[in-house]
């Protein structure tokens, strides 16, 4: 089964990426797109394709990869099927950092401020959740809820002090998450951080496998647990912090993707990571295509759509957990 999974997943990914380039608010027939790309002068089709849809598609790809991967790593590290960056408060911390950068003028002076503050926010939030929530599924989720609550209180406070009168309206909109109208420069700004984060997460693969045996056993196998935790935290903060600072809040992809691939690849964490990343990207691309196809006056926000699909799955997960655990 797993031998078929890879080609199938990659084929699916390429197909949804092509579809993502093909659909938008303005309908371009394929022939016009090809003509536009071949024409020497910039024209409507080539501008829409290269300057708008291509960065959007690549952003969906890399953000989806980071969310799927960090979800899989967190679930492996914490041996907890409910772990994901958004449930552990990491996304909220990142949003708070990004909002501070945007509304207090740091971002306009120094463009890197948004991803950096997003990463710092994610790091602090993750650190607090990990420290307070040690000791089981329930405490961890509760710590995540508390951190999310704290971050959203901070968000409201930041908005109260924001010098811009539109801040409240804009940021509520932004928190819903979207990939629309992002430019190449924004993509290039955040990508190095996301790649660095993913590298930290992948390096951790062997430690995660050992951890399935339990913490003491893993330690006796020569796994440095503190290093493994630090790498996972740093990787998640880098990847999710940078992604959130560009896209706003996109929830449930990190939770969903690992669960989708486990039936095919088994439960060994190292086998889950890369397929989960791949499926995270596919899920995000499909959701982003759907936001453009649903005929509403304003685009449906991406985060709204992922939550609509993800929340019922979360319910199912909770119900299953209730059945299987004493």
């Amino acid at each position: 089964m797993s031998r078929l999974l890879w080609p199938a997943a990659i084929l699916l990914l390429v197909a949804v990426m092509l579809l993502s380039l093909a659909v938008g608010r303005v309908w371009l027939p394929p022939s016009a797109m090809i003509d536009g790309l071949l024409a020497p002068q910039p024209n409507l089709a080539s501008l829409i394709l290269i300057e708008l849809r291509l960065p959007r598609t690549l952003l969906a790809l890399i953000v989806g990869l980071t969310l799927g991967l960090s979800g899989a790593v967190l679930q492996g590290l914490l041996r907890n099927p409910l772990a994901s960056p958004d449930l552990l408060g990491v996304s909220s911390g990142a949003a708070l950092g990004a909002v501070i950068a945007i509304y207090f003028g740091l971002a306009s002076v120094f463009p890197l401020a948004t991803p950096i503050l997003g990463i710092i926010g994610a790091l602090i939030a993750g650190l607090v959740t990990f420290t307070i929530g040690r000791g089981g599924t329930l405490t961890l989720i509760l710590a995540g809820v508390a951190v999310t609550g704290l971050a959203s209180a901070g968000l409201s406070l930041a908005l109260n002090f924001a010098p811009n009168a539109f801040a409240a309206f804009e940021i509520t909109n932004w928190l819903l998450g979207s990939l629309a109208e992002r430019s190449w420069s924004q993509l290039l700004l955040a990508t190095p951080f996301m790649l660095a984060g993913m590298a930290c997460l992948i390096v951790n693969m062997r430690a995660l496998d050992a951890l399935t045996l339990g913490e003491t056993q893993a330690a006796s196998l020569g796994i440095d647990l503190d290093r493994a935790r630090l790498l996972a935290l740093l990787g998640t903060a880098l990847a999710v912090g940078a992604a959130t600072s560009i896209t706003g809040g996109i929830s449930f992809i990190g939770l969903l993707a690992p669960h989708l691939v486990r039936p095919f690849v088994g439960h060994q964490p190292s086998r889950v990571l890369l397929p989960a990343a791949l499926f995270g990207a596919i899920l995000l691309l499909v959701a982003d295509i759907a936001t453009r196809l649903i005929p509403t006056d304003q685009e449906v926000k991406l985060g709204v759509l992922t939550s609509l699909v993800g929340a019922p799955f979360f319910f199912w997960l909770v119900l299953r957990l209730r059945r299987t655990s004493p």
């Binding site: 708008l52 207090f104 811009n164 009168a165 539109f166 909109n173 190449w184 420069s185 304003q298 685009e299």
Partner: protein
């Protein structure tokens, strides 16, 4: 028991005041003595009020007005008390005339009746005819009809000057600030663009006062110029990311028209001046559409 009777008495007083208002309504609407403690609960009313009566006759205006006043008539609100439209302030400022909008808080209105001050409900002006109506209404309520007519005459002179300009090919423009919402048909911005001799391509839906306009649609519509609101809200915001999108910078260089938000937020006599400024800006836009 005591509290019940107190509550009952308060209600009775309220009902009596309401009755008095209903009976006396027409008298209040055209008072013989000019109101001396006017309270305004709406920013657009604040601005017109400041143009019509001396500051000494104003009990309070909203805290929102200051930025626009700074832009339109600096210093005109010096020393004037401000309110946040709360019920307590109504009791505190003891107005003898309240200028409200259709959206003023119903609590404030109910209390206004109790403090026995007549309430004038002023519509929001979305075109030049409505601006004339609103100025006349407030002018007669505050007992300054002549001053109101003078303001309207000034506005009509600006409009006449605008109409007398040599006709040019109308520009297709859109007021696009980057958050995806653009003013469409039936908005004040639409009226200003039309008066300045432009065509508002944001007015694409007949029944929508705001339309959504993504970057793709903006490129496909290929406007001659993009108008961007500037003003008191220049503090950093997300929407700038989109408004400063590399595509906009590259292909709409020299085709971006900054307009002062303050002139477009409320229908005022100065709105006609805003239309004249816009027509001047249109004349500076390079001929022919954006090139790509």
């Amino acid at each position: 028991m005591l509290s019940v009777s107190h509550e009952l008495r308060r209600r009775l007083v309220g009902m009596l005041a309401l009755g008095a208002l209903l009976v006396a309504g027409p008298v209040f609407a055209a008072p013989s003595a000019k109101p001396q403690r006017i309270m305004s609960l709406n920013m657009c009313n604040d601005l017109i009020l400041l143009m019509l009566v001396p500051r000494s006759r104003i009990a309070s205006i909203t805290y929102l007005a200051h930025d626009a006043v700074d832009r339109l008539m600096p210093g005109a609100d010096r020393g004037v008390a401000t309110n946040r439209g709360t019920a307590e302030e109504l009791l505190l400022h003891k107005p003898d005339l309240i200028l409200a909008s259709p959206w003023s808080s119903s609590v404030a209105r109910r209390l206004g009746k109790q403090v026995n001050a007549p309430i004038i409900e002023v519509e929001t002006a979305y075109d030049f005819e409505a601006i004339r109506r609103v100025i006349r209404q407030i002018g007669s309520a505050v007992g300054e009809p002549a001053r109101a007519e003078a303001l309207i005459a000034g506005m009509d002179r600006d409009l006449a000057a605008l109409a007398a300009r040599p006709a040019m090919r109308p520009l297709r423009v859109v007021a696009w600030t980057g958050d995806g919402l653009v003013p469409g048909r039936g908005t004040l911005t639409d009226a200003i663009i039309t008066a300045a001799g432009g065509i508002n391509i944001g007015a694409k839906h007949a029944d929508n006062s705001t339309a959504s306009f993504g970057l793709e649609e903006l490129l496909a519509a290929r406007p001659d110029a993009i108008m961007q609101g500037m003003g008191s809200y220049d503090a950093p915001a997300l929407r700038e990311n989109v408004a400063r999108h590399p595509l906009i910078k590259r292909f709409f260089a020299g085709r971006q028209i900054d307009y002062p938000d303050a002139y477009y937020a409320c229908g005022l006599p100065q709105t006609a001046q805003a239309a004249r400024q816009l027509a001047d800006a249109f004349a500076r836009v390079p001929r022919g559409g954006p090139r790509w």
